[in-house]
């Protein structure tokens, strides 16, 4: 063997390539996507743009990809990390993520440089749905949840459905993506620093929007307390709602049943898999986290 000859198959090298003769009806794929740009948005969040395959570009708002993050230390990283798509740029063939650095996975992800290849599996899961009859929707996001709500706001905007985006954050540095949301509609930022992010205050804002008939549907992601409040309001006012949920995942595809959460229909509780039956669920059926 010469030094340049490839080795005996490396651990985990397998599966980086598309199965040969994969039938065309396969809806998701494991693919290597070159990083186009990757920049810090603030002290905790990074914005990642990758070139994506045609299959990946078919991603719908609320769907996610399961990312093989590089390991940030000498120890091995054994699960992928799910990240919802934050922006779909079909014109340039790109997919964007907005993610928070919280642990080993995202810290490893943050090491990727322009030109590196990111191994992603997707698009996965069930995304948001939009009823063409709606005139105006409200999206309520906090933290990483803001990223997830980007594409549905974009889609609403494109379909002439009005959007009010309530973005909750620690302080004004962490109000992200407001440009993206502003393109689609109106943005209300609520902050911890001035107390405006308090659940009661957000509830007041929502009540105002309901009164103005600017709330045909609710969408939320990222905060259990905000979700519970929105669910309650939605129930009282009979406003349909959707919530994007999170759970630790292993396969991200359905077989392993690692990612279950509790849901309730007609008083009966049941478990559903976030990765394939979600991550977007009916707000009134979700129990929370």
């Amino acid at each position: 063997m010469t030094a340049s000859e490839p080795f005996a198959s490396d651990p985990f090298m397998v599966g980086k390539h598309k199965p040969k003769d994969a039938p065309a009806h396969i809806s998701a794929e494991e693919s290597l996507c070159p990083v186009v740009s990757h920049a810090w948005v603030n002290a905790q969040y990074k914005h990642l743009v990758v070139e994506a395959s045609a299959k990946a570009l078919a991603v719908a708002p609320g769907q996610f990809f399961n990312l093989l993050c590089p390991s940030p230390d000498v120890g091995e990283l054994f699960f992928r990390r799910p990240q919802s798509v934050y922006r779909i740029d079909r014109k340039h063939g790109r997919i964007e993520f907005l993610y928070k650095c919280v642990g080993r996975g995202t810290r490893g992800l943050a090491t990727l440089q322009k030109g590196d290849a990111l191994n992603m599996v997707g698009p996965l899961g069930k995304g948001f749905w939009l009823d063409p009859a709606w005139k105006h929707i409200v999206v309520l996001g906090r933290g990483v949840g803001i990223a997830t709500l980007g594409p549905i706001s974009q889609l609403a905007g494109e379909n002439n459905v009005g959007v009010t985006a309530i973005l909750s954050a620690r302080d004004k540095d962490f109000v992200m993506a407001d440009v993206l949301f502003r393109e689609a509609g109106e943005v209300i930022s609520v902050l911890d620093t001035d107390g405006s992010s308090a659940v009661e205050n957000v509830e007041k804002i929502l009540a105002g929007l309901i009164a103005q008939q600017r709330a045909d549907a609710f969408f939320t992601c990222g905060s259990n307390r905000l979700f519970q409040m929105m669910k309650r309001l939605g129930k009282v006012h009979r406003i349909p709602g959707q919530v994007a949920m999170e759970q630790v995942m292993a396969c991200g595809l359905g077989p392993c049943y690692v990612c279950v959460r509790t849901f309730e229909v007609d008083g009966r509780q049941e478990l559903r898999r976030v990765c394939i039956e979600g991550p977007v669920f009916d707000m009134q059926e979700a129990v929370g986290w």
Binding site: A8, V14, G15, K20, E29, E30, F79, V248, C251, L253
Partner: protein, 315 residues
Amino acid sequence: MVDMSVRIGSVTLKNPIMPGSGCFSTDLAQVMDINRLGAMVAKTVSREFRPGNPPPRAAEVEGGMINSIGLPTKGIDYFFKHQVPDYRRFTPPLVGSISATTIEDFEAMARDVAKSDIDVLEVNISCPTRDPKGGNFALHEEHTYEVTKLIRATTDKPVWVKLSPNAGDIVAVAKAAERGGANALVVANTILGLKINTDTFRPAIGNKFGGLSGPGIKPIIVRMVYQCAKAVRIPIIGCGGIVKVEDVVEYMLAGATAVMIGYLTFRNPTGMIAIIDGLEQWCAKRGFARVADLTGAMIDEPPMETFAAAAAPIG
């Protein structure tokens, strides 16, 4: 052209690669061509609905992962009505996996499930978080013998018994399963483990204990496959930590006729297909016309070294 087929008793697989139970469902058709697999192995079913264990149900550990899903199942009626037909949309042989907490229920389950449109009955008597008298029969040879014998009598379909690496003497258990009439052994299920979160001081998964799988357990399970293959005449299916072509080769050299793959699918969902392709290339490159020739081909002698000091003191 390499002949990739392997025979496990009366069943011929077009290649030796199968998923491990609980790590496969037709949902994988989202990313891969299921028809390329040697066989399909269904998630373990129980008679009645079981919700499974509280989340988080899995966590990363040094050599792989730990899980305690808790065998959630919608019960056998749902299995017959929905799952079997769903699997039957695909062509590979279908292995149905059953679990129960009593020996009587195991027998009844086997009778019922074997009647459905499956090709092989896998008997999961080795779920690591169950107790020895509650479904984890594979810890003891007598329990294994009894349950296998009863199940054997209920059906003519091939019966594969999935053993536990937590058994103190897996060779004795393997022999017991053979005596009981098993047509093949799956070696093995996961190893019982515990991970504690040092931030929260709590167990990392909801059920406290969980089963280890992934690359870190491979040397232990390869050893068990080797030991069992020497002790029984029925085929062995190796399972534990396979993530690359050479891992499959290693299991086959140790005595496995085929293998099952779990963890890899979580990391690389198209990994099983890549391994099927890669194994064929490996055989071609190494001049093996039949992959089956690898089974038990380990050269059972130490590596060659100068070592002749057995009788002399260390300097």
